[in-house]
Every structure is written in C-alpha cells, then in structure tokens.
Amino acid sequence: MSLPKPVMRGMLAKRLRIHLPLAFVVSFGLALTYKFAVAEPRKRAYAEFYKTYDSIKDFNAMREAGVFESVRPTGK
C-alpha cells in the first residue's frame, strides 16, 4: 500500500512554463491577425476611395437630394 509521493511544490512554475509563452504567442497572434485581416484592408479601402473622390460632385449630388439646410437645391 505504498503510493508514490505526490508533487508537493512547483506546480505554478510548471504550469507557467507552458502557459506564459503560449499566452504571449496567442496574444501576438490575435493582434497580428486583426492587423492584417481588418486594419490593413480598411486602410487600403479608405486610400482607394479617396484616390478617385470628387468632393464637389458629391456635395452637389447631396445638395440636389435636399439634405442640406444651408443651401437649397439649384432651381427655384
């Protein structure tokens, strides 16, 4: 009836050996994934949009639609 002596100490250190590097890897991984899956495409989308953006034309379209209070649509 002699059982092996159970582990008495060092349990946290043993767990952290694995989980601390793992935590860093997962965190950085997620951050990089977000950067390249969300942030960079969004920045590119905005850059592309503003390359060919004519703000005056857009303003006139909005003016004709009648959404402004400072300028009325042309005519009348």
């Binding site: 989308a45 949009f49 857009d58 379209a61 909005m62 639609a65 959404v67």
Partner: protein, 176 residues
C-alpha cells in the same frame, strides 16, 4: 369558504402567527402543538458538503461501547483493522460518502419547470402591459417612414467608404 365565521378565521390567523414567530421551530404547527427542533448554532456542527468536506465535528459524537472499543483499536496499526471495521470507522466520522453526496437528484426538473412557468407568467404580464400600459406605436416604425429614412441616409452618403452607402449603386439606383 364563505361559511368561515370571523372567530374561526381569527384563530387560524393566530395559530399561523405563533408558528411563524417561534424563532427556533423548524416545522410548522400542523397539529396545534409546536414541534420544537432547534439547531444550536453555537456548537460545532456536522455537514456533508462536496466543496468543503471538513465538518466541525465527527458525525457520531455519542459513541456506544462497541464504537469506543473500535476507536481504541484505531489507535493501533491500521493493517490489523478488517475491511468492515474500516468502513464502520468511516461511518462513525462521516454520514455520507462522496458518491452518496454526489447522487444526482431530480431537482433540475423542478428548476426547469419553474423557469418555464415564470417565463409564461411574464408573457402574460407583458400582454397585459401591451393592452393597458404601452403608448401608441411611434410613426417612425411605419414601412413608409422607414423607406423615406433609408432614402435620406443614402442621400446623406452615410458610410460611403466601407459601410452603408458603399453598397448602393448611385448610377443605377439599386443595391450593388
């Protein structure tokens, strides 16, 4: 029920009141006499708990002569105890074993039933509120208003880069 005289109602209420106010009675006065079963909380207590299996006192604290002799035998080498004696010693100290404590009950059925019952009751309450409490529906919920709202959002070029207006084709006048 309508035949209850005022006197009988009075005595019923009086009995209920005394039963409620007997601070240490664990059972309701059902036969007219109080069965007092009080737990002295100032003494060490016994309990069966899975999360804190360390009661303040052993289960049986008044030992018979046989129990006492068994306890004496326990002071010697344990290899000399038979299996029945070891089990008897366990049962002296503890009421239930872990498997007995962890026996599954049918409590979940009661819990689930009560949850559904009260969800249903809440439904009735909400229905009553719809009839008697809620003000009239705002006009902004009408389909016509919603369509005009959508057109105005497109006219204002809401989120033209990646979001709302980006999905509308302004030349063709339709969704992309």
């Amino acid at each position: 029920m309508l035949h209850l005289t005022a006197g009988r109602v009075g005595s019923l209420l009086a009995r209920r009141a005394t039963a409620a106010f007997t601070a240490s009675s664990a059972r309701m006065a059902s036969h007219g006499h109080d069965v007092v079963e009080s737990v002295d909380m100032s003494q060490p207590m016994y309990w069966d708990r899975v999360d804190l299996p360390l009661p303040d006192r052993p289960y049986k604290d008044t030992l018979t002569a046989t129990d006492k002799s068994l306890k004496q035998k326990e002071k010697g080498p344990w290899g000399q105890l038979s299996k029945e004696e070891k089990i008897a010693l366990y049962r002296l100290t503890f009421c239930q074993t872990f498997p007995e404590m962890k026996q599954k009950t049918e409590e979940w059925k009661t819990v689930l039933g009560s949850v559904f019952f009260f969800l249903g009751f809440t439904g009735l309450v909400v229905w009553w509120q719809k009839v008697y409490v809620y003000p009239e529906r705002p006009r902004t919920f009408d389909d016509e208003w919603q369509a005009k709202q959508l057109k105005r959002m497109l006219d204002m070029r809401i989120s033209p880069v990646e979001g709302f207006s980006a999905k509308w084709d302004y030349e063709k006048g339709q969704w992309k």
